[in-house]
Amino acid sequence: MRKRHAMRALTGILHREMLRTLRQRGRLLSAIVRPLVWLAIFAAGFRSVLGLSITPPYQTYVLYEVYVVPGLAAMMLLFHAMASSLAMVYDREMGSMRLLLTAPLPRWYLLAARLLASVIVGLPLVYLFLLIARHWDVRPPVLGYLAVFPALVLSGLMLGAFGLLVSSISTQMENFAGVMNFVIFPTFFASTALYPIWRLAEAGPVLAMIAAWNPFSSAVELIRFTLYLNFDPVSALVVLACFVVFFLAAVVGYDPGRGLWSRRGGDG
């Protein structure tokens, strides 16, 4: 693999992702409206007008709007990752995935490039959301917006790698819809994205335990901590480890010798 070739391919994949994203206005719009609706409506229904008790990294009492913003940023990454993985299943059914996979580059590299491109393309919207959230008085330190960048990328990679893995094992679109219902929503709800762990513990110790072990919670907390210029090494390690595991599994899933295609013949 020549370096220049690899870079050109990455640039090309990134460019294509950007063009595709920009031309899907509806998807863009709903991607930004979704977290705002949560912030404006759901957060208002969660009575926290007297302040939530102090949970790190917050050093003082915060309103629920402040608490939920990092979780909603992670939600955006999650939905983006799943939409992107849905696009991969679609691409595969429609065939354009083959084009990518017949490029004269190692397959793991092509998958990684596609994953990275998808994550990068998703980030501007997350930042837009974080900026709009300032309207709700969610004002993390200015440097926090910079510090959260690597956290968003790493979390995006983890969720994207999970999506990639799902796309490598679900052969049909219908399966994918099932995945959306049985994976995304539980992942999102049984996490610290919407409720602090002590609130989940009030609802039930099992739920709190699931949320504590849910890698999505780690992504949420990584984003939350870095946004407020704190660093939570445990979350970072969990997210990193999950990314590596999901990605390697996805590479196996797409492996020409071992993957599902070679066993079932995904090409019909």
């Binding site: 220049r4 294509r16 595709r20 065939g95 084009l99 092509l110 020409p256 993957g259 070679s262």
Partner: protein
């Protein structure tokens, strides 16, 4: 050296055997028609040759590069037009070609020059900045062929490229590809189930139920089987009579 050489190729999906010890080769600059009915295993063969997945058994070499041990070198020599349409409908023809060029590591300048050249040769240059969605089926096919030629492959593989097109459209595609083969010396593997796309000078490979039934000059098939025409020969080879 052979442009493409298959040696004892076999594959199965679970218990279902789809290819059984298929061997044939395509000469440099040769035109090879891969003829078979639906379900003959043509598409699986394409998937294996393009490295989408590995064959259970056998060997594939593209200009001497093994598909299994050096797929990148093999794929670099290969231009592919899949049976399924693989263009990005929301992107323009030019954008689709640029994407493909980047995957093959072409510099931006080279990519632009070739993009014009190839689209012009295939007579779709005037539509190059329109979203592919607005192009006709025939035009899309031609854009796909142009795309497959961007990285100057020495062998072009087309899987049922004329399916779904009207007769003039089919004729046009066929003429383009034959011209490429003639003028540029590109080897062609043309998978089809249309008998009229076979010409006497072509190499012919007939696949049926995963087995190779014939490999040799198309002009000889009728004589060798002592029938009146290629069509009759095909019927004989595919147990239709």
């Amino acid at each position: 050296m052979k442009a493409l050489s298959l040696e004892g190729l076999g594959h199965s999906f679970g218990e279902r055997r789809v290819l059984n010890s298929v061997s044939f080769s395509v000469a440099e600059g040769g035109m090879c028609i891969l003829l078979g009915r639906n379900g003959a295993g043509k598409t699986t063969l394409f998937s294996l040759v393009t490295g989408l997945y590995h064959a259970r058994s056998g060997q594939i070499d593209v200009f001497g590069h093994s598909m299994r041990t050096d797929p990148a070198a093999a794929l670099a020599q290969m231009g592919v037009v899949f049976q399924q349409q693989t263009l990005d409908l929301d992107l323009t023809a030019a954008e689709n070609l640029r994407y493909h060029a980047s995957l093959h590591g072409l510099a931006a300048g080279t990519s632009e020059t070739r993009l014009h050249e190839e689209l012009e040769r295939l007579e779709v240059l005037d539509r190059c900045d329109e979203p592919v969605r607005s192009l006709s089926g025939g035009q899309r096919r031609r854009v796909e062929i142009a795309r497959a030629l961007m990285h100057r492959p020495r062998i072009l593989l087309l899987d049922e490229p004329t399916t779904g097109l009207d007769v003039p459209g089919r004729r046009a595609i066929e003429q383009h590809v034959r011209a490429l083969c003639r003028e540029r010396g590109i080897a062609v593997v043309w998978a089809t189930h249309f008998l009229e796309e076979v010409s006497a000078d072509d190499d012919l490979v007939v696949l049926h139920k995963g087995r190779l039934r014939w490999a040799g000059g198309a002009g000889r098939v009728a004589t060798d089987l002592a029938v009146a025409s290629v069509a009759d020969a095909f019927d004989v080879l595919t147990d239709a009579v």
